[in-house]
């Protein structure tokens, strides 16, 4: 699939049925819409011209249309969209087509409010034309069917925007994850791993890999793991810490756990987790002192 047709969403038959039911689009509506095809054809050019006149009059929507050629191109696509309302068919292909339209607008960076505003404009233009052509009660029934389908389309558009935002969010989270595992060399053969935030499985694996590679590269003897910035230390986090300690020991490095607050200490004990495999120090400074003693160094007072 190329970029042009890519949509992050899929709607299967069951979902389509339930959504159709929620918008109360029945076969009668679809038949009515199909019967309006001639009406749609007749007013097609007129409505599309009014539509773009409005859009180009408004600065916030005009900026998305660079030049006359692009306006001509989207007008053609818009006509396809418009006639699609009167196809009388609402199937998976219809939905895919609508989702693609939504994804295209999202990709060019059009804000959702501009997009939704255009749907409202569509309904206004259609209401005027229906009122001119049909007597009030019939126009009302026709309009109701059109409105159901347009609102259905709007729901799909909103979904494509949300799906795309969620995707972006996921990408950012992955990026933050990568950034958030700094491994600092505090002294020859002494590394510091300050952990901040939530440690989930994915992050724990990444932490372990990062620190193992660094320890091997620097031939480190000690890794200080500071958990002052970890809000919750549950058995999962403790398990990760213990596994990292075991792996580090295999390549000849000791681990020192620092930054344990009093309430985290008590929670760990109540959980029944045994972390005696790790050296522990309350303060980072004490951890550094212990690390230095392991590599045979000492911090001493010098005369001023």
């Amino acid at each position: 699939m190329n970029r042009e047709t890519r949509t992050p969403l899929k709607l299967d038959d069951a979902e389509l049925r339930s959504r159709r039911a929620y918008f109360e689009i029945n076969d009668e509506d679809l038949e009515r819409l199909a019967s309006l095809r001639a009406f749609g054809q007749t007013h097609l050019d007129d409505i599309i011209e009014s539509f773009y006149r409005f859009i180009l009059e408004h600065h916030e929507s005009r900026v998305f249309f660079a030049d006359d050629t692009s306006v001509q191109r989207v007008k053609r696509l818009q006509k396809e969209y418009f006639l699609g309302l009167f196809s009388g068919v609402l199937d998976v292909r219809y939905v895919e087509n609508r989702l693609r339209v939504g994804a295209t607008h999202e990709r060019i960076g059009m804000p959702l409010r501009i997009y939704l505003g255009a749907y409202a404009l569509y309904l206004r233009l259609l209401l005027v034309k229906l009122g001119e052509e049909y007597e009030p009660s019939l126009a009302g029934m026709h309009f109701r069917s059109v409105q159901k389908l347009v609102y259905f389309d709007m729901s799909l558009a909103v979904d494509t925007y949300i799906a795309s935002y969620v995707e972006t969010l996921g990408r950012h989270q992955a990026a933050i994850r990568e950034l958030s595992t700094p491994c600092i060399r505090v002294y020859d053969r002494v590394l510091l791993l300050p952990l901040v935030g939530t440690i989930d499985t994915q992050r724990a694996q990444q932490i372990m890999e990062t620190v193992l590679v660094r320890v091997a590269d620097e031939q480190a003897r000690v890794v200080i793991v500071d958990i002052a910035g970890v809000p919750v230390v549950d058995t999962k986090v403790a398990d990760h810490l213990l596994k990292t300690t075991a792996a580090l020991r295999l390549i000849g490095a000791e681990s020192i756990l620092t930054g344990i607050s009093p309430h985290v200490a008590r929670t760990i004990v109540q959980l029944g987790v045994d972390i005696s495999a790790m050296y522990t120090k309350s303060r980072l400074a004490d951890g550094i002192e212990l690390a230095l003693s392991i590599v045979g160094k000492r911090i001493t007072q010098v005369a001023p």
Binding site: V232, T267, L271, V273
Partner: protein, 139 residues
């Protein structure tokens, strides 16, 4: 004694992010109710264990977080419901040190020790319902 429910929120547990959201909500509510740091850490950690259990063993489910008031005493209760295979040997799982997922196996037993009230109902094929309650300390 009358137990009053002040608020109730249902949260889905479908991924690790949801586990984080559940425990963040529990922590925020515990702090808002004036729990001390120890009680806040305890109920948050217990919620974290049970939410993860629902996710890992129960293939997802939901958590219902309730703020309670019992004769002027603030409390927090969280109920976890999953549709997983259920726990075959509940006694063994509660004893601790037993795991079907190659972990520490301390989640259930640890969570029980961290809270004031603990209730669990599970059987093969019926899923698991676990419920915890923590009260604000009076002194």
């Amino acid at each position: 004694m009358s137990r009053e429910v002040l608020s109730s929120v249902v949260m889905p547990i479908a991924g690790e992010d949801d586990v984080v959201l559940v425990r963040r909500r529990v922590r925020d509510l515990a702090q808002a109710q004036g729990f001390d740091a120890f009680a806040t850490a305890a109920v948050t950690t217990a919620a974290s264990e049970l939410a993860r259990n629902a996710l890992v063993h129960g293939k997802g489910g939901r958590a219902t977080v309730r703020e309670l008031n019992e004769d002027g005493r603030a409390g927090l209760s969280i109920q976890f419901q999953d549709q997983g295979p259920g726990i075959a040997d509940l006694e063994r799982a509660l004893a601790g040190g037993y795991s079907t997922a190659r972990s520490l196996g301390l989640g259930l037993s640890g969570a029980r020790r961290l809270v004031d009230e603990f209730d669990i109902d599970s059987a093969p094929g019926r899923g698991t319902m676990a419920s915890i309650t923590k009260w604000k300390r009076l002194y």
